[in-house]
């Protein structure tokens, strides 16, 4: 249990670092470390498939995409953020943490334990038999993403 709490605290810490770092490259790498910690938490929850997905796709692929974008927009990267943004954050963050803690402690014991019957079978069976149409949706979303990127980077016609 302590290991989970340490990992969750690390996840929040690296996410906050990703938001507050002025250097975009450092922010992207902090985000990758946060994804890595989230993947380890998923492994501890006995969800190895989603843990592997999180580490390979979110920590790997999305970080690469971010770094490519940062490299392509290098000269415009120094946007001046509002000065208030960095010093108001700790205030709001502490208030929210206290609020979150008290709400969760107040709910403790009031929400009945979630009832559920243990599942049978393997992940692949559940994905193929119970959530078949999710896969159709996933393929549609991937095609939509590819077409959107192609549309955004298409070359101008000669007569334009």
């Amino acid at each position: 249990m302590i290991l989970e709490i340490v990992l969750l605290c690390g996840l929040v810490l690296f996410s906050v670092a990703a938001v507050l770092f002025r250097d975009l490259l450092k922010a992207a790498i902090s985000l990758a470390v946060a994804s890595l910690l989230l993947g380890i938490i998923f492994f501890l929850m006995k969800a190895p498939y989603i843990g592997a997905f999180e580490i390979s796709v979110v920590a790997g692929l999305i970080t690469v995409l971010f770094i490519v974008t940062i490299a392509l927009t290098k000269t415009g990267g120094d946007v001046r953020e509002a000065k208030a943004a960095s010093w108001i954050f700790p205030l709001f963050f502490v208030v929210f943490l206290a609020l979150d803690f008290f709400v969760m402690r107040g709910l403790m014991g009031k929400i009945p334990a979630l009832q559920g019957t243990p599942e049978q079978g393997a992940f692949g069976e559940v994905l193929w038999k119970l959530r078949t149409f999710d896969l159709v949706g996933q393929i549609g979303v991937i095609f939509a993403g590819v077409l959107a990127v192609l549309a955004l980077f298409r070359k101008r016609d000669k007569d334009e």
Partner: protein, 102 residues
């Protein structure tokens, strides 16, 4: 079991708060997108934690896989839009985009 679920939901709520704060206060387009990523981490944590607490980890994993696929498509499209915006305005400042207003 519900206490573990409350612990994970509490941390998921903190992540969503951090992302929302980033979206509300930052001006750099890439920073705004990092905020969206942080929110999506909170959501996937909440999804898998609920499945874990309810002994339905397999179906939660199936849903989270769908969520990650959607996340990747959104990231690819949004980063392409950010690069095009940069080429168009020469800056990553979100306030420059108000030029088309009115």
């Amino acid at each position: 079991m519900s206490n573990i679920w409350l612990l994970y939901s509490g941390f998921a709520a903190v992540l969503v708060f951090v992302g929302l704060y980033c979206l509300l206060s930052m001006r750099n387009l890439i920073k705004l997108f990092i905020g969206i990523e942080v929110i999506s981490k909170g959501i996937s944590l909440a999804l898998v934690a609920t499945g874990f607490a309810k002994d339905h980890i397999l179906i939660a994993q199936a849903l989270a896989v769908t969520f990650i696929v959607i996340e990747v498509s959104v990231v690819a499209t949004a980063l392409a839009i950010i690069i095009n915006t940069y080429r168009h305005t020469g800056s990553l400042d979100v306030r420059r985009l108000t030029k088309l207003k009115g």
